[in-house]
């Protein structure tokens, strides 16, 4: 294997090398050090936080984490987020894989026009739809319930998920189905037994995207619910400042706990997660 994309020669190399590492280390510091600061501070007393900001905690205050669990109601917040994200991801996959199947395998009037209309949905700034979503949720009688968020997240993700799944299904060869049709497989059988299993990689990508969107969504979680019992994790974090009042380090512990699961999952599945999150732009 030849040496490719080397780093130049002579003085430019030294200069370029230094500049290169300055850039890389700067962004490493910016990304990583604040998180580390938060983690270490979450084990301190509040006095230490003020007086010895850059020292290690004298005694590691695991009690902060016990406080955090007690005050923040984290288990409930996590449960709500898991329910909302899982159900809305499942619904989005069902609805858009059915539509993607029809759009990619069948011919019918207004097919292209309808598809373009759905895909144009990605251009709509969803934040602009606060007022109608609020009214709609109220008229459906689901305001202040997890269903409000489940339906909203499912619907919001329809354009991007249709785009990803339609794009994937379109590349599957037709011959696969032709053999099945000879054997008498019907419409539903072609979708369920042939196309859907083959679309799994596309569904994993789209599903990751939808799940992370739903997990991290904040605006509509705030607008469409009000009871503490239906708060999702992201909404719950917002109330930490009032719940913990001046017990900052316990609040930091609670914030760390909210970050932990996604970070652990990311460490295990980072390739898949990066692919899922960037696929919307990459396919363009």
């Amino acid at each position: 294997m030849s040496i490719v994309r080397t780093n130049g020669r002579g003085t430019t190399q030294v200069l370029g090398n230094t500049a290169k590492w300055v850039v890389l280390i700067f962004f490493f510091t910016f990304t990583f050090i604040p998180l580390l600061w938060l983690l270490i501070s979450s084990f301190k007393t509040n006095l230490e936080l003020q007086l010895k900001p850059f020292a290690m905690p004298e005694i590691w205050q695991f009690a902060n984490y016990a406080n955090a669990m007690k005050i923040s109601g984290l288990p409930r917040l996590f449960l709500n987020s898991i329910i909302v994200s899982t159900v809305s991801t499942g619904l989005t996959m069902i609805v858009t894989s059915m539509a993607g199947f029809v759009f990619s395998r069948e011919r019918f009037p207004f097919r292209q026009g309808l598809l373009n209309l759905i895909l144009a949905g990605v251009l709509v700034p969803i934040i602009a739809l606060m007022a109608p979503y609020f009214r709609l949720t109220n008229s459906l009688g689901i305001y202040d319930s997890l269903w409000a968020l489940i339906f909203t997240y499912t619907a919001i993700n329809i354009p991007i998920s249709t785009f990803l799944l339609y794009g994937f299904m379109r590349t599957l060869p037709r011959e696969l189905e032709e053999a099945a049709i000879m054997d008498g497989t019907g419409f539903v059988g072609r979708y369920w037994r042939i196309i859907l299993p083959l679309t799994k990689p596309g569904m994993v990508t789209a599903g990751t995207f939808v799940f992370l969107f739903s997990w991290n969504e904040f605006i509509y979680a705030m607008l469409l619910t009000s009871r503490p019992a239906v708060r999702t994790l992201q909404l719950g974090i917002r109330f930490f400042t009032s719940q913990f009042f001046t017990d900052y380090t316990s609040m930091f512990a609670a914030i760390v706990l909210t970050m932990l699961p996604t970070i652990v999952i990311y460490i295990v599945l980072h390739e898949q997660i990066i692919k899922g999150m960037t696929s919307g732009a990459l396919k363009g």
Binding site: V95, I118, I263, Y266
Partner: protein
């Protein structure tokens, strides 16, 4: 090519109906709602009163509205040029596979899997005037006179929020890096033999090859700038004295005050600005990027 579909008509309709119902209620109806309501004076309960373009006219005479639009444009340019510029720079460096590049790539992307809310809470603590690490660091190295109430002062509030957003380059860096990695090594080998240095290689080979993805990334980043909400809402809620307000924040405040007409006129402005942005980007820097490049 296609399977004969007349007998399948029933199934086609059945398979599309869930999607069409959701799309109608969550896209078609809401857009109609904001366009129509933007011409009404309405608190959501009383009988709506038609006021034509009155809301738009008074918006453009309103200082907070104009400030919010200006801030949205600052966000748009900061995201589109600063963030994408830095993301591209780092992507070009990592594409040459320096020591530890895979690890760095993973770390740079990390903030994207943490929610914006948690990140914003962390920065609220870092910027805090009493116990925040930034002021403490400045004091520790003898730069006491540079300490600020970062989120509370007119001059520092907006830059402080923007910094904590645009320096998280991971998302766009990954997109750009993936594109750079697809350029065949043979192009660089040939350039190397011809005596082109690294800068010349990047400028004449890499940049032209990744132009499309750069335009896509810029479009996306700018769209995020227009839709910006979370970090500002959590860090300053538009303050001090509306200095950090953006259209999303203003919209939320109007809606909370049950001013449906005014709220919808802001929504309509957001939709129109989004469309103008796409048209401008397409007709200037990129003609190829498709509508489907955008995600929420």
């Amino acid at each position: 090519m296609y399977v004969k579909s007349s007998k399948n008509a029933f199934w086609i309709v059945l398979f599309l109906i869930p999607l069409l119902i959701l799309f109608f209620f969550y896209f078609v109806y809401p857009l109609g709602f904001i366009f129509i309501t933007s011409t009404l004076k309405w608190n959501g309960v009383s009988k709506p009163e038609f006021v034509g373009l009155q809301h738009f006219i008074s918006n453009f005479q309103n200082k907070t509205f104009l400030l919010s639009v200006k801030n949205n444009f600052i966000w748009l340019f900061a995201n589109g040029f600063v963030q994408i510029g830095l993301a591209a720079l780092v992507a070009l460096i990592l594409a040459r596979r320096p020591r530890g590049w895979k690890f760095l790539r993973t770390v740079y992307f990390l903030p994207n899997v943490i929610s914006q809310v948690a990140i914003a809470m962390m920065w609220a603590a870092l910027y805090n005037a009493e116990y925040g690490a930034i002021n403490q660091l400045l004091t520790a190295i003898g730069l006491d006179n540079l300490t600020h109430n970062w989120l509370g002062e007119y001059a520092t509030a907006l830059p402080a929020i923007i910094v904590q957003q645009v320096f998280y380059i991971g998302y766009f860096m990954i997109i750009i890096l993936a594109s750079v990695m697809t350029i065949p090594d043979s192009l660089y080998e040939a350039a190397e033999i011809d005596g082109a240095n690294v800068w010349q290689q990047e400028w004449h080979i890499t940049i032209p090859m990744i132009k499309d993805i750069l335009v896509t990334a810029m479009t996306l980043a700018m769209a995020y700038g227009l839709r910006h909400f979370e970090a500002t809402f959590l860090l300053t809620n538009g303050g001090p004295a509306n200095r950090t307000s953006v259209l999303g924040i203003l919209l939320y405040k109007k809606l909370s005050a049950l001013k449906y007409g005014q709220a919808s006129s802001i929504s309509t402005t957001l939709v129109i600005l989004g469309l103008i942005m796409i048209v401008v980007i397409r007709s200037t820097i990129g003609r190829k990027s498709s509508a489907s490049d955008l995600t929420q």
